[in-house]
Amino acid sequence: MPALCRDCLTRFETGRRCPACRSPRIVAHPELDSLSIAHMDCDAFYASVEKRDNPELRDKPVIIGGGKRGVVSTACYIARIKGVRSAMPMFQALKLCPEAVVLKGRMETYVEVSRQVRAMMEELTPSIEPLSLDEAFLDLTGTARLHGQPPAVMLARLTRRMKAELGITGSIGLSHNKFLAKVASDLDKPHGFAVIGRAETEAFLAPKPVRLIWGIGPAAQESLEAAGIRTFADLKRWEKDQLIARFGAMGDRLYHLARGEDRRRVTRDAPVKSISNETTFGEDTADPDILDGHIWRLAEKVSDRAKAKGQAGRVVTLKLKRANHRLLTRQSRLPDATQMADRIYRTARELFEIVGPEGPYRLLGVGISQLTGAEAADRAGDLLDPHALQRAQAERATDAIRERFGPDAIVKGRSLR
């Protein structure tokens, strides 16, 4: 069985330790040389960067996150032993691990380190799909002849370099598609290397819970469970059309994932599908004036970003999270695309009127999707809203003023609420 030493990159056939350096950190798999789709996930990225830059923190539990209402964005492995998880409310995290060092995070530094990791990945393949600052898919298909080494070796070299040059560690998942690569990278964390080959795919998946699938949250899990589906083996018993009839568009994907099939390609810089902004309030609120102010400011932020990118959206989404964390989203499709803060605000506002009164809420979000170029947007007036064109002109004039004199040169009274 082909094997590889992750420390000295020696390749060999058999043994539990590297014949060259005696390291036990080896990876062996019958398909090691033929798999080429990988997922690289940095280990406790923000926390690792903090520990690298401040050695005093090395043996302490570190949590990155913040604010009175904040949630944990990253917890180091020491804090994780105590049960701290990302996305956990901060108060709960501190209850589990009162001695933790809580840091607010230095986003610029993380972005910089992420850029350096990206540059290292670029040396392996041009086919990189970043999912966030600290994880990415890599497609190394066809690079073996270029590098003179199979993908597995190049990936092991990548994490070795990350550790040596950047002082952070990452875990690699290597398989034959994106879904399995992502599952694999989680199997051997931290500083791991896991392989899922074609031959063992179905046997590997069968006993696993379906929540392994990215995008299957508690709600989807519940509806799957209602259908008697807990594991991949359960899922595999369903016919394709049954799944589609029951779960809609997701059914088709489920059918293929049940068999470990995922035809999505690793696409560089996947096109942006939506633009949205959201805000978590300092305190839950049901006050319509305060909420209205938030809707406007978020609509303006979304609009600013859309204008900067030269994009516009046909669908406006309003997202509300109740005090009990129940999420509510409502969408409205416009007859033509928009990038104007005024139209985004008015549409979100009407959606709010429909669902709104039942506050209080802890989070509010506004977004646009079904994006198109700006050329086609906001060019027709509204018969039923004769002032719409004037407001659009006012907004363009406002934009021109802000362009010249800065973003605060002119603001709507509404935004001061």
Partner: protein
């Protein structure tokens, strides 16, 4: 229940039923059609809780009774049976199965108890009148393209049918708009419709109604209340809730002062718009109209993909004008014209434009221009 029914008759009735039921729904019985056999006919009833269709078809009833079965499955089966076949439907009332037999084909379908089927509550109708199918067909066919799909403007998601005051007296009027275009279609006011409350007929109902109106000159019985509308032929009854909302005051939207008139052959115009729009792949393609002395130049300029231009002879005597429209909107309103020339009345490049057929005031369209 035990009945025999001709395949064509059954296909028509079940076809109507399966188009009403929601494809994706969480209440199983709403996917079913309720069949009730008595005397010498069977009635097929289907509902999505907003619309209910009852179709009565002649059949040979050996044993009266009722049951419910999946409308889509039954429709698929009947559709695949040979033309002219005699179909036998048997339900023994106890097994929870419906036996469907035609020639050598035999099917067994699961049923759900008829007691669970939701029957729409009957209501008091304030207004009952009858109108010829062609009149209703024209009212809805010419207005439905302008129905809005915007969820937040739910009160525009249908056709507003009401009694209105026109120049020649009171009329039965249908209006639909999505804010970018508007259609206003009038018909003679049928006897008995004078007191009809104005109602917004939902998009889906308009689609279902169209199937009722296929038979040429039939009289359709129309009943209207504040909350429901019913259309009935001797065989089919379509009952629908109406949209609970206020249709906006559309009269101020229809321009009255537009004086710059262009007359054009509607078909030639539509073809030319379609041709020049080809170069742009955008969803909302803008077509520019340049008017000058009996000459119209249509052009599309799509920076990424190309440009197109076409000239058309028109009747236009006013000063030069440049105005842009969404190509799709122009095509849709031009295709409403079926007899005479299309007459466009413009004001400025930023104001709503009006379109009608010849001098006919009974069908008026308004379309909002686009910046080009």
């Amino acid at each position: 229940m035990k009945i025999s029914i001709e395949r064509g008759t059954l296909l028509k009735a079940v076809g109507q039923a399966q188009s009403v039921v929601e494809r994706r729904n969480t209440i199983p019985i709403l996917a079913n059609v309720l069949m009730e056999a008595e005397g010498d006919s069977v009635s097929f009833r289907a509902t999505d809780l907003d619309i209910e269709v009852v179709d009565k078809a002649p059949a040979q009833v050996e044993r009266a009774g009722a049951t419910t079965v999946s409308a889509v499955t039954l429709h698929e089966i009947v559709r695949k049976l040979p033309d002219g076949a005699l179909v036998q439907l048997v339900d023994d009332g106890a097994s929870g199965k419906l036996e469907v037999t035609a020639g050598r084909s035999h099917f067994t379908l699961a049923t759900l108890p008829k007691e669970d089927f939701p029957v729409m509550a009957s209501s008091e109708y304030q207004s009952n009148f009858s109108a010829p199918a062609p009149v209703l067909r024209r009212l809805f066919d010419k207005s439905k393209f302008a129905i809005s799909t915007e969820e937040t403007r739910y009160y525009l998601n249908g056709v507003y049918m009401h009694v209105a005051e026109a120049e020649e007296g009171r009329v039965l009027r249908c209006v639909a708009t999505d804010g970018h275009r508007l259609a206003r279609i009038d018909a003679d006011l049928p006897d008995g419709a004078e007191d009809m409350p104005g109602v917004i007929v939902p998009r889906k109902t308009v689609g279902e109604l169209r199937k009722l109106l296929d038979d040429d000159d039939m009289q359709i019985a129309v009943s209207v209340s504040e909350t429901k509308i019913r259309f009935a032929t001797p065989e089919i009854t379509l009952t629908s809730k109406v949209i609970d909302g206020t249709f906006p005051d559309y009269s101020r939207v229809i321009p009255i002062g537009n004086t710059r008139q262009m007359e054009v052959d509607a078909q030639e115009f539509a073809k030319a718009v379609d041709r020049v729009a080809t170069v742009s792949s955008e969803r909302s393609r803008a077509v520019k109209l340049q008017l000058d002395e009996d000459r119209l130049v249509l052009s599309v300029n799509a920076p990424d993909s190309g440009a197109a231009e076409e000239e058309l002879a028109v009747a236009y005597g006013d000063e030069k004008l440049e105005i842009g429209f969404n190509a799709k909107y122009l095509l849709e309103i031009a295709s409403q014209v079926d007899r005479e020339n299309a007459v466009f009345l413009f004001n400025s490049a930023g104001d709503p434009t009006l379109m009608r057929e010849g001098t006919d005031q009974s069908a008026v369209y308004v379309v909002m221009p686009m910046r080009v």
